[in-house]
């Protein structure tokens, strides 16, 4: 057992957990933040993606104890009063069906747009498809996810990259 302290969605949390506890388990089981999903056991599907210090991380492949002191944002913490532009775009473009991949898709996509904006690079639809390599959706066929990310990217740019 190790004591882990983190900031999760802006709140300080502290738990004693077995050393082998994955971040996904820590969030789901210890904090009961069940928006972060687990869809595979080989770090391939991206249903589990959260932000650590603003960067997309696969929580199924990260030990909770390695993140002592970290700042973690999950899908539950993304909306800041109002829905995030990426969340709005997913619903407006019907970028989700069963919703299981959606939290990971949204968290990955927000980080993607931030990185492209920061680097001053254009996020083309081909780039979006390549960037989503680590996120699998079985329902949507990706078409509407790509439309959603394009749309959110343009709105996030206009807002100055939030």
């Amino acid at each position: 057992m190790t004591n882990v302290n983190m900031t999760v969605n802006g709140k300080a949390v502290s738990r004693d957990v077995p050393d082998e506890t994955l971040l996904s388990e820590f969030l789901r089981e210890n904090l009961r933040l069940t928006g972060t999903h687990v869809g595979c056991d080989t770090s391939q599907c991206g249903a589990c993606v959260v932000h650590v210090s603003g960067k997309a991380v696969k929580s199924c492949s990260t030990l909770a104890v390695s993140l002592d002191g970290a700042d973690v944002t999950t899908i539950e913490g993304l909306a800041d009063g109002d829905l995030h532009p990426m969340q709005k775009a997913f619903t407006e473009h019907h970028g989700l069906q069963c919703g299981f991949c959606t939290p990971g898709m949204i968290m990955t996509s927000v980080d993607m747009v931030h990185r492209y904006n920061a680097a001053g690079k254009v996020l083309t639809s081909d780039a979006i498809r390549n960037e989503l390599d680590g996120n699998i959706c079985r329902c949507t066929g990706y078409h509407n996810i790509v439309r959603a990310v394009e749309d959110a990217a343009s709105k996030m740019e206009a807002k100055g990259g939030s």
Binding site: C40, I75, L96, Q97, C101, T102, S125, G141
Partner: protein, 780 residues
């Protein structure tokens, strides 16, 4: 903005999913929660000589380890296939026994032999590793043709030669005669590759037993919670129906794989009673590959005869279907009544004969996966048509058009009676949208880049809206396939609709609300759809076979008819007018042509206060209906795929994919397009990427996302999706269903395009770069 029929309403259910507040089965945590893990066979075929769980049971935090002897000893029944198919000689199918936990024999890698219950999930899994099972290995067989060979290992004693049934449909002699007299006969051997459905949410179950009430509750990843309860009660004797509540909360995709009642749900329910703990099991992805029912896995040979004008005169198909180690719930129906009955395609064919042999093998059970039988039929038909056109030097589109059924209703020689369609209109629309006339120029341009460009068609038809109960009953189904609904108007005028359909991505909470909002001219926010809980919804047959619109919505319409009639009676009484003059619009119930009106909510209130109702009228405003469809529905359309192949590497890109579908009335085009997108993605996945591979000893070779090629965003194109619809004459909304079309129509379009590009027909699915490269080399 309109929210009625035909409007692109964004989904009511989205908010909880995009904010992480969806509630899936694994998100459920109950009081007194314990966790289960299964001890599974690492062998494809073995006798179980003994199980020693002493080391596991001795571990701190392990609650119990239970096995198959105990399960059968407690009277838990065997898992059954619910559709009885007879062989052509009249003999019944040879169904082998399937216990939720194997007792004396295991028959596939993953077959469960024991369930471990522990205080944590991690502990349960470690303890499962500690259970010693003494296996005596037996020879195994994985491929269906090998299973039928002389001397093959026997999977079940009561299925000699591993044959489950030898089924036929159509007229053999007449078809042979037609083929003998044909001017041209096209012949192909076709494999429909084995797939793993891979809904992104792994299966999960949370079972609780309330000893004081002698009552069970099961949260489970199900497409049909009532069917689960029925089967768990009536056949597996887990608990009587009134003592079992099944809840399917948010479910993360199904694609067929969550129709069936699996060993794990049975074992968890039983274990919750044995241990008096709430038992939770969640599959991981590796476990999903070896326990979720697989799909497809057909080997076929087909002969199609044409007269000198290119008119089809006969079709003969011989198919072997692999059903795996045990017969799953609907497994027998998939390669028969959902496959062979669709072998007329969109064409007017007088003579068809199909023979289907299903076999046991030492592999995961095979059952319905998106399309279920219809993709296999479409693949046979559309590969045959394209190949025949090439052989006869005809244009593939025109060969199809010349053979299309033109008049409806049309009785095929293989049971189905097509009710409506305009196949030519879909073909024309797809060709225009795909700019087929510009293809030659695109091909030429691709050649300058060293790429081989090809085009392929697929004109599919499917049977949805499953299904008229009497008809399927006469064909062996163990259940009726109607749907139920209840419409409750509250005293304040808001509405709850309880439906037996289940949404696991289809967006019913929105589309079902749309038809109610339209009918009573109310804000869509005032309508709530309730589904997925056997304590709330009286009964339902669930969601599969693209049946929720055609059957589920029709039941809602029937219930709304009754509500409307009662509303009009109440209003006529209060407003002192004739019922015939009452109209419902704009949130009011009015007397047409006058200013006499009541608010919709006032009618609701009148119904519940009951102070001034017509004589003899019961208070309340709640109506239910069961709807049994009159016929299947027949969505149809044409898909056109364009690919570019790099001849140096075999790498293939789908560069254009165009769909024209006839789904009948469309309730929400946004959602329908989404269904088509997802279906096409799965179809392209089947055609180019996916295949479950077993070695000869029955070991699964590719049981993870490191090995099984799931389609990812960069593997797929944007889709160009169009509609040219005819109305379905057999249900009140004129809807046909759209959930499976994409997966049914797309695989042959892709393979037809690739074979067009590379100039050889000898290419099996999945058309990986290696397979395409090999095909190019072989043709050189």
């Amino acid at each position: 903005m309109s929210t009625g029929i035909g409007a692109r309403v964004t989904r009511k259910e989205d908010k909880r999913f995009i904010t992480g507040k969806g509630k899936y089965t694994d998100d459920v945590r109950t009081e007194n929660q314990a966790y289960a893990a299964f001890v599974r066979s690492p062998h494809a075929h073995a006798n179980v000589k003994g199980i020693d769980a002493s080391a596991a049971v001795a571990m701190d935090g392990v609650i119990d380890v239970l096995n198959g002897q105990q399960l059968t000893g407690d009277g838990i029944g065997n898992i059954i296939c619910g559709w009885a198919i007879s062989s052509k000689d009249g003999s019944p199918m040879n169904m082998g026994a399937w216990s939720a936990l194997a007792t004396d024999k295991v028959r596939y890698v993953g077959d469960a032999v024991a369930i471990v219950i522990a205080e944590t999930q991690a502990l349960a899994r470690i303890a499962a590793e500690m259970v010693e099972v003494d296996y005596e290995e037996l020879p195994a067989v994985a491929a269906s043709d090998k299973a039928l060979a002389d001397g093959a290992p026997q999977v079940h004693e009561n299925a000699p030669g591993n044959l489950i049934y030898d089924f036929e449909i159509g007229e053999a002699d007449a078809t042979d005669a037609a083929l003998a007299g044909a001017a041209h006969v096209t012949e192909l051997s076709l494999t429909n590759n084995r797939l793993s459905p891979n809904a992104m949410e792994p299966r999960s179950a949370v079972a609780t037993f309330d000893e004081a009430e002698d009552h069970y509750t099961l949260y489970t990843t199900s497409q049909n919670p009532h069917l689960a309860r029925l089967v768990l009660s009536a056949f597996y004797q887990v608990a009587p129906e009134h003592k079992l509540r099944v809840i399917a909360p948010d479910v993360g995709g199904g694609f067929g794989s969550k129709i069936f009642i699996y060993p794990e749900e049975i074992a968890c329910l039983w274990a919750s009673m044995k241990t008096n703990r709430s038992v939770k099991w969640t599959s991981d992805r590796s476990e999903a590959f070896i326990t979720d029912a697989h799909g497809r896995d057909h080997i076929s040979t087909a002969k199609m005869g044409f007269d000198a004008n290119g008119k089809i005169v006969g079709l003969k198909v011989d198919t072997i279907a692999n059903l795996g180690a045990y017969m799953s719930l609907f497994s027998s129906a998939v390669p028969t009544y959902l496959y062979a009955t669709l072998l007329s395609g969109q064409y007017d064919i007088s003579n068809i004969h199909c023979n289907v042999r299903t076999v046991y093998t030492n592999t995961v059970p095979v059952d319905a996966y998106r399309g279920a039988g219809r993709p296999e039929a479409c693949f046979v038909m559309e590969r045959m048509m394209e190949t025949a056109a090439r052989e006869m030097g005809m244009d593939p589109a025109e060969l199809r058009r010349a053979n299309f059924v033109q008049e409806f209703p049309h009785q095929t020689p293989v049971i189905m009676a097509y009710d409506a369609g305009d196949f030519s209109a879909n073909l024309t629309q797809a060709m225009e949208a795909a700019n087929v006339s510009g293809f030659a120029a695109r091909k030429e341009e691709a050649a300058t880049r060293g790429k081989l460009r090809g085009i392929g068609y697929s004109s599919y038809i499917e049977a949805c809206g499953i299904a008229p109960s009497a008809a399927v009953g006469s064909l062996g189904a163990g259940v009726g396939l109607w749907e139920s609904a209840e419409v409750r108007v509250n005293p304040v005028g808001t509405i709850e609709v309880l439906t037996g359909s289940h949404s696991h991505g289809q967006g019913h909470e929105t589309t079902f609300a749309q038809i109610v909002a339209e009918r009573f001219d109310l804000p869509i926010e005032n309508v709530q759809i309730v589904h997925g809980d056997t304590d709330k919804v009286q009964f339902g047959m669930g969601t599969y076979g693209s049946r929720s619109a055609a059957v589920g919505m029709s039941a809602i319409v029937k219930a709304m008819d009754k509500v409307e009639a009662k509303v009009k009676k109440i209003a006529a009484h209060v407003l002192e007018a004739s019922e015939d003059d009452i109209v419902i619009e704009g949130g009011e119930v009015k007397v047409a042509g006058t200013d006499k009106a009541m608010g919709w909510h006032e009618v609701g209130l009148s119904a519940y206060t009951a102070h001034n109702l017509p004589p003899d009228m019961e208070p309340g405003l709640k109506e239910g209906a069961f709807y049994d469809p009159a016929n299947f529905t027949f969505p149809a359309g044409t898909y056109i795929c364009e690919v570019e192949v790099d001849p140096e590497t075999g790498a293939t890109d789908v560069v254009q994919f165009t769909a024209s579908d006839d789904f009948g009335t469309i309730i929400n085009p946004m959602i329908v397009e989404g269904q088509v997108h997802g279906g096409i993605a799965q179809g392209i996945g089947q055609a180019m990427l996916e295949q479950v591979v077993y070695d000869d000893d029955g070991q699964l070779i590719n049981g993870s996302y490191m090995d099984y090629a799931m389609p990812r965003a960069a593997d797929l194109p944007d889709y160009s999706v169009h509609h040219a619809s005819t109305t379905c004459p057999n249900n009140p909304l004129g809807v046909k269903g759209c959930g499976e079309a994409g997966a049914i129509g797309s695989p042959p379009a892709v393979i037809n395009a690739i074979t067009d590009a590379i100039g050889t027909n000898n290419l099996a699915m999945p058309a990986t770069p290696q397979a395409v490269w090999n095909a190019i080399q072989a043709a050189m």
